[in-house]
Amino acid sequence: MKAGLKYCGGCRPDYDRTAAVKDIVKELGEGFELTGADDEESDLIIVVTGCKTACVDTSKLPDKPVRFISSLEDAQRFKEDMKNFLSKER
């Protein structure tokens, strides 16, 4: 699974966005790879925003499924969904 990564600008994030992303990569381990937001080869794009306003510009992203992560709870749900998906893939 290859996921493109796009952050918002981070003016007043409610949580540590980069730490949350590092945690996702660490926990999902092998089988999950992060790549640039504009990578046409990605399977989906995760858009990590510091708050629920999510003012990030997504207009130039490739036409892929997009998953918004706007809180630590969102990150946790994403990890669980990915774990389920990856276990089925294996």
Partner: protein, 488 residues
Amino acid sequence: MGKLMNAKQYEESLRKLNLKVYQFGRRVTNVVDDQIIRPSMNAVAATYECAHKPEYEDLMTTTSHITGKKINRFTHIHQSAEDLVKKSKMGRLLGSLTACCFQRCVGMDAMNALSITTYAIDQKYGTEYYKRFLKYLEYVQENDLTCDGAMTDPKGDRGLGPKKQFDPDLFMHVVEELPDGIVVSGAKAHQTGAVNSHEIIVMPTITMREEDADYAVSFALPADAEGITYIMGRQSCDTRKLEGMTFDRGNMFYGGHEALVVFEKVFVPWERVFMYREYDFSTMLVENFAAYHRQSYACKVGVGDVLIGAAQTVAEYNGAEKASHVKDKIIEMNHLNETLFCGCIACAAEGHREPSGTYQNDLLLANVHKQNITRFPYEIARLAQDIAGGLVVTCPSEADLKSSEVGRYVEKYFRTKADVPTEHRMRILRLIENITMGTAAVGYLTESMHGAGSPQAQRIMIARLVNMKAKQKVAKELCGILKSDNLA
């Protein structure tokens, strides 16, 4: 993509400039490595480095409306209210990362104001300023330059206009017209980030009348153009930076600077002149610049973020964080800081399109925002000092802490908890000192008071812009003085 410089490339680009800079009465031969100036260079460099970081680039970069290329937002002409909102957010972000003035907003504001004004002058007089301006803008965007937006003249006797001053140079003015350009003399005071800039964009400082036509001039020059001299402003505690990397400097990485910039018979080629004697457009340029720059004080919200973080930290180090009055003071600091954020977001979100296509803030709300900025940081700083305690001004130096003779006393008597090193307590106190009365107080407090216009300038604008008649009409209708068809 245009040339999107990183911090290192920016620093190297500055080394190529041959600026004539004076500090403490001496010529500064190596501006970039000067110990007092360098932290301010680091702060501008952060505006370049953050443009390359995925976690910040959505605010730090955008697309040029003239070339379609990816550019640093600091070189952008706002094309929507969303652009204006992102500008405010970028200001908060950078303030929260550097805890100081990062100096680059003023050039962005000058260019946006010129994009509106040069277009308007052309519409009235058939001139070609807007075409010139767009060519210049493309040069700035393509090379990712930092521009100093220079508005404030020394102004001499405040009771007299430019033409009536005893010394004509107290306002920037044209001294000679040549076939290939003009020659100007005068000075610009309080120039933030001047010696960290590649370019200097000059604008008139006040509304000019017909008799002041020689003073109605706007142009751009390379920062090291022949005839320009920079004299650095002093900041409280500035020479602590000469003591090496001790924590007594408070902020170990960043700072700001201002300078007096003197123009002595400086030649400006026509292609870099954006206003020449069109005195009737001086008000438009000044007011548009002021509205953009009053919005730019979003940066102080970011500095406030750091100061609030420091106040909470010192409260915890002191073991006072659970005291109800301390908690309430932290709440008040956050309340004030987020109120400031409301203002800079609101004036941007209510932005409008000017005939040139450039988006401008809601002028009334931009002035209200800046008026709040002249007050709230002072209260936030007062609360931070209240929470910090007297040690914020009586703390011995790092050298004393490390002294083989008295260090053990400093360590022993300024320790609050077994798990909090005395050095940590001293460091956070020094940061609070830095922001509230040291070098960074220049930006956080006095610049908040006078930058982009002193408080009274905003009050005049608020009085002018508010729709008082509408308020009176409803009041009179509701109490029955006037009859209204809309009321039952």
